[in-house]
């Protein structure tokens, strides 16, 4: 079963038109074509006749959920891929958004995004929360997400060498941070000089530290959407570290981020009988 992009686009346009015409929302956030280059870009529309500018295709890689934080006080409809809905569920769990201000147009049976390596690991494919859906839902039983990772097979020294090679290319543009739905802090630790966490130069040691710290901030919150990797201009495997923590959370605590607007985040919760592997006794 494959969803047709043309049909998805038409359905999205229909929902957007109705919502704007009836005045149910002030704004629709979706994907559109950039006027001159024709590239896919986030699109914000406020009038019903603009709704035919909305599109959905395999190039719609950006995570739109993050834009919702800019419109907290107005009523917004959003075109949401399954990963976007997980991000929205996390925001709701963290009390950052009001559910009553949101209209979520979910993409059912998301066919995946071209060039995004996270999509083959996707365990969802259908929106976790929605008001309307476009397309046909995928049967969970049909899914066979890849869970194995070749990095797990390597020795520690090989992995260190791998990450050194990857992070040595980092130019500290912070595109991964800007793309990530988790990174909404008003002041990032990288910009803080009191306390001073990590140097801003592109020395390997600072790059490595930056990526470790970034990943640690995403522990138990990363939804493994691949937006960071798609955003990276150097093609660095920036998703490897947070994705590892996602697997650890799944194995040790049976925890998946962003599956339920009511759930607590992994690190703001505990269980008295939590495992403690690697602790000295």
């Amino acid at each position: 079963m494959e969803n047709n992009y043309k049909k998805l686009t038409e359905e999205i346009r229909g929902f957007a038109f109705e919502l704007l015409k009836d005045g149910k929302v002030d704004r629709v956030i979706g994907y559109g074509k950039e006027e001159y280059s024709g590239e896919v870009t986030p699109l914000f529309i406020t009038a019903p006749d603009e709704s035919n500018r909305l599109i959905f295709n395999s190039e719609c890689s950006m995570l739109l959920a993050k834009y919702l934080l800019n419109y907290r006080e107005s009523r917004v409809a959003i075109v949401a891929k399954p990963c976007d809905t997980r991000a929205i569920a996390s925001y709701l769990a963290e009390n950052l958004l009001k559910r009553e201000n949101l209209v979520i147009i979910g993409i059912n049976g998301c066919p995946g995004i071209t060039g995004n390596t996270a999509c083959i690991e996707c365990t969802v494919r259908n929106p976790v929360i929605f008001d309307f859906t476009a397309g046909e839902a995928i049967d969970k039983a049909e899914l066979s997400p890849r869970v194995a990772n070749e990095l797990e097979e390597m020795t520690a020294a090989e992995r260190l060498a791998y990450f050194q090679e990857e992070f040595s290319r980092c130019i500290r543009c912070y595109a991964c941070r800007e793309a990530c739905y988790v990174c909404y802090c008003e002041e990032c630790f990288t910009d803080s000089n009191q306390p001073f966490w990590v140097g801003g130069s592109v020395k390997l040691k600072d790059n490595f530290t930056f990526h470790l710290m970034r990943s640690m901030h995403m522990a138990g919150r990363c939804i493994n959407c691949g937006a960071c990797e798609m955003a990276c201009p150097e093609g660095i495997d920036v998703r490897a570290l947070p994705a590892k923590l996602t697997r650890v959370a799944r194995e040790l605590y049976n925890y998946e981020a962003g599956m339920d607007p009511e759930q607590k985040t992994l690190l703001t919760d505990y269980d008295v009988n939590d495992p403690q592997p690697g602790f000295l006794d």
Binding site: A156, L160, Y162, K203, F208, T209, M213, S215, A219, L267
Partner: protein, 162 residues
Amino acid sequence: MNQADTKQIDTFEPKILAFLCNWCSYAAADLAGSSRIQYPPNIRVIRVPCSGRIDPLLIIKAFNSGADGVLVSGCHPGDCHYTDGNMYARRRFVMLKELLTFAGVEEERVNFTWCSASEGKRFAGIVREVVDRVKKVGPWKGFAGPAGQGFLEREGELAGGK
């Protein structure tokens, strides 16, 4: 292993950063001292109000700054002075340790334990164990350093390069 390497390991005294919670582990260290229990002088103690106070970023920063190892100790689960600070800390540390070992930091350098105020003798034993573990894996070369070079030389070399 050549002679120089053997010599380096024989004389290698690791610098280990110890984050101790004020109410249990710091008191345990104090008790070890006042009971005159000997333990290696390789730890540099930072007293924190609770193990829940320890931001995992502090530990990453310690490695960035060249610490050979880290020891974190708090009250036993259930005994926290602030009821459940160490419970939150436990999840954080498990995640941090998985992250660091996945990124290639040796497992022996990242040490977590619980130690109550009456366990002075045990605290000394923990420190001995941690020092042995870190000595076994040798000096920390930094996130930028491959085997065979000291932390500072490697940094200096890279400063002009990439």
